[in-house]
């Protein structure tokens, strides 16, 4: 009984932390708990959240991806540019989305190969990627903004379906799919094995490099998903600022959710709620009108506390 409770707490503590934060915010500002605001939080979280899901795969397999922020800008810019070129309408929009995914997969593949075959630490390849992607985006726009002229492309990012914002729906569905892949398929199992004990994985005749490379592709695909949603919503991408800092937020979401920087550990469940905790904190800062210069302090303390609380069970 006691053990069960403890296990339960261990697994769901992060949810309790989230709920605690929300109750606290609700008491401070009742407006926080308005259904509309809750939806907003989900919505606002979805962009980083989807990326964090991708990064969770990479991190469990023992890697890291610092390039996601710049990649978000690059893929968003690419989606906008191609959909502008292809023109209005569902067909062209779908085509541009597919092309964006293809590019994302290719970039992920490249990162993966550099890291596995090139034996370059992921920190370096993806830091390089971060610089290179940003440079490309800036270069083609001369530091300006990519604007969408396709009505179709720039419409779905704001859509509500069954009363829920589309990005939120995508986020939840994406999380469920990712959960299944990571938890219920062979590939997912191998991701854990590769990250936890590479030698053991080799002895089990698992293709370590292939698995690792695929995680980078998944990260790329996740970034593409987020990029498409975000650039459609904003109908634009700023070559200088869009996506900057996303890498830290996404990694933080995963780590708050229990993913380890040294690989082998982590869950989609954890990342999902880790991202939501970040989202709630950001929203709360605005809702409680926390003074500009103190926001960092509050955010830092809450993140540390959130992880500390999760440790208490142990």
């Amino acid at each position: 009984m006691r053990i069960k409770l403890r296990n339960f707490l261990g697994k769901y503590m992060i949810v309790l932390v989230l709920i605690g934060l929300m109750i606290f915010s609700g008491i401070m500002t009742p407006a926080f708990l308005k259904p509309r605001n809750i939806l907003n939080i989900f919505w606002q979280t979805s962009y980083v959240g989807i990326i964090a899901i991708g990064i969770t795969f990479v991190m469990i397999a023992g890697g890291i991806d610092l390039s996601v922020g710049s990649m978000l800008a690059l893929l968003g810019a690419f989606a906008i540019t191609t959909s502008n070129k292809l023109g209005n309408g569902v067909g062209p929009t779908l085509a541009s989305i597919l092309l964006t995914y293809a590019l994302a997969a290719l970039l992920g593949l490249g990162m993966g190969l550099l890291t596995t075959k090139g034996k370059i630490p992921a920190f370096i390849t993806t830091l390089g990627g971060m610089a290179i992607y940003r440079s490309l985006v800036l270069n083609f726009a001369n530091g300006g903004v990519y604007m969408s002229f396709s009505r179709t492309f720039s419409s779905f990012g704001m859509k509500f379906v069954a009363g829920l914002p589309l990005p939120m729906i995508v986020f939840v569905v994406y999380a469920v799919l990712a959960y299944i892949v990571l938890d219920k398929t062979r590939f997912g199992r191998y991701v854990y094995a590769v990250g936890a004990n590479e030698t053991a994985a080799v002895y089990s005749a698992i293709k370590v490099d292939t698995i690792r490379t695929i995680t980078y592709i998944i990260s790329g695909v996740s970034v593409a998903t987020s990029a498409i949603l975000l650039s459609s919503m904003m109908a634009s991408v700023s070559s200088s600022s869009t996506g900057s800092g996303f890498e830290l937020d996404a990694i933080a979401a995963a780590v708050i959710g229990g993913t380890s920087l040294s690989g082998g550990k982590g869950t989609i469940f954890g990342t999902f709620f880790g991202a939501l905790i970040l989202g709630v904190v950001n929203n709360m800062l605005v809702m409680l009108n926390v003074a500009v210069y103190l926001q960092g302090m509050v955010k830092g303390l809450i993140i540390i506390a959130a992880v500390l609380l999760q440790n208490l069970r142990k």
């Binding site: 299944i180 398929t185 936890a196 994985a201 080799v202 089990s204 005749a205």
Partner: protein, 501 residues
């Protein structure tokens, strides 16, 4: 009969040093092979080549008469399965997940968890094991992990099963179970290659013997009629002394007194015992009997709930291994890979890791460290290319010797040795025993030896305490110190176990 698997003229180098020289060897179907050789002779290297984990620099591998170029996947497809010497399980995955790692059962895209758990239970039952398939491997003892490795291997479609020292952490009970499986496999036409430093086991199970020495095959043939001593001499290429030196005579002074010790996790229950100066006190018991936990509790790695410990007549409170070390008590862990060595550090740095204060005032004197290492290299016959070789690239037995040297170098007075000679060859084992005696006679040291190797426990120790379910259930000494008695107390059942041979 035609060979199923052969090595032809196989050579292997590491960093331009040749460790296998033109090895030619044939394995026939349905036959059990014993492979022996000194530590560093190249056994594991040869086996890794035969199972596709290493590529030879020269020579060929033939399978069923055809030349093959192996990699892990290809070897697995052919049915060549290796149980590596160092345990290689994913600690953060569950038992059944490890067993099916790389060969998961699925329904469509999805893993079929229930089927795999069922199948695991089934396999466990065959071996008479009671490990819960859903527990995490990190919670198992080394012996249990070893059994999981074995189950993992035999769960596959196997034609050639290579077992690199599978018994080094097993007690007789498990060894017997394992041998039963091996014989069953032979019945099914499977070739089994068995590596061990426990020559008694090799004699018992193998039908044909292969001896490697310094990377060369020096013998392949009949094992019938070879005594352990003769096998050992084949391994080292010269005459050997008696294995166990005369037992030392312990003093009367009690150096370690443990009273009613229980651990917080409830594994060790109210244990009391005394260790005399100059004594070698053995601990025997089955896997999971709590011997390791007791030792860990004594050096402060495991939380103690109640009980007292007296060292050299004084009551002590030991919070961590550092306290223990300062009091002259050190522990050699049984889990070599995780707790014993620091793989990526150089050999000599491992040796001095626990006694760096001896080697440094302000700065560490590397010259002195290296010299010290070299003295152990000689004493224990450690096979290294240089003191700077990283310990992870030593052969298993040589790694073990490095760990022992680390403990000895602390200059402690009381040593808790948990499976000290795991994977160590006969010759070096002999040397280690000699050194223990020397430390007793010259320095007045005392030893607790936890071992699953019955001959060792019997040949080496003055007294042996038997543990079962976390309690000390018997003490054996003098006349009573024999296999039958120990096994009886360890299992609580009469007439089970003992070696037939």
């Amino acid at each position: 009969m035609k060979a199923i698997l052969s090595a032809r003229n196989v050579c292997m180098n590491f960093s331009n040093v040749r460790v296998l020289h033109n090895v030619d060897v044939d394995f026939e179907p349905a036959k059990i092979y014993g492979v022996v050789g000194e530590n560093g002779a190249g056994k594991s290297t040869l086996m890794r080549i035969l199972s596709g984990f290493l590529q030879p620099v020269e020579g060929e591998i033939h399978f069923e008469g055809n030349k093959v170029v192996l990699n892990p996947l290809r070897a697995k497809a052919l049915g060549i399965i290796l149980i590596p010497q160092e345990l290689n399980l994913v600690e953060s995955l569950r038992v059944y997940e490890n067993i099916f790692l790389g060969d998961e059962m699925t329904r469509g895209f999805l893993l079929s968890k229930r089927k795999m758990i069922e199948e695991t239970k089934h396999l466990m039952a065959q071996l008479d094991l009671s490990i819960d398939p859903t527990v995490y491997v990190s919670q198992l003892s080394p012996a249990q992990k070893q059994m999981v490795e074995i189950i993992k291997a035999i769960s596959k479609r196997v034609k050639v099963l290579i077992m690199d020292e599978p018994t080094s952490s097993l007690t007789d009970e498990e060894v017997l179970k394992l041998f039963q499986i091996v014989r069953n496999m032979k019945q099914k036409g499977i070739t089994v290659i068995f590596i061990s430093h426990r020559l008694k086991e090799v004699r018992q199970i193998a039908e044909e013997l292969i001896v490697l020495r310094d990377g060369r095959k020096v013998y392949q043939g009949e094992i019938q009629g070879l005594s352990e001593k003769q096998i050992a001499e084949l391994m080292v290429g010269r005459k050997l002394d008696e294995m166990f030196p005369e037992k030392p005579v312990p003093g009367t002074e009690i150096v370690l007194r443990v009273r009613d010790l229980s651990t917080a996790d409830g594994i060790v229950k109210e244990v009391s015992f005394e260790l005399h100066r100059g004594e070698i006190l053995g601990f025997y018991g089955l896997v999971g009997s709590g011997r390791t936990e007791l030792m860990e509790a004594l050096v402060g790695i495991r939380k103690v709930k109640s009980g007292e410990v007296h060292l050299f007549g004084k009551k002590v409170q030991i919070e961590d291994p550092q306290d223990a070390k300062n009091l002259g008590l050190v522990y050699l862990p049984e889990d070599r890979k995780n707790a014993g060595i620091i793989q990526i550090l150089e050999a000599f740095k491992n040796t001095t890791m626990m006694s760096l204060e001896k080697f440094s005032k302000l700065l560490v004197r590397v010259r002195k460290e290296v010299d010290t290492f070299k003295s152990y290299e000689k004493k224990f016959d450690i096979k290294v290319r240089s003191p700077w070789q990283t310990v992870g690239t030593l052969s298993g037995g040589n790694q073990q010797k490095v760990v022992i040297s680390k403990l000895v170098e602390t200059g402690a007075k009381i040593f808790l040795f948990d499976e000290p000679t795991r994977g160590v060859d006969v010759n070096a084992r002999h040397q280690i025993y000699q050194i223990m005696h020397q430390m007793i006679s010259e320095l007045g040291c005392s030893f607790v030896v936890v071992s699953s190797d019955l001959p060792e426990v019997i040949g080496l120790c003055n007294r042996v305490l038997v543990m079962r379910n976390g309690r000390i259930v018997a003490e054996a000494k003098g006349e009573d110190l024999n296999e039958k008695e120990l096994i009886y107390h360890a299992t609580g059942v009469k007439e089970v176990g003992a070696y037939q041979a």
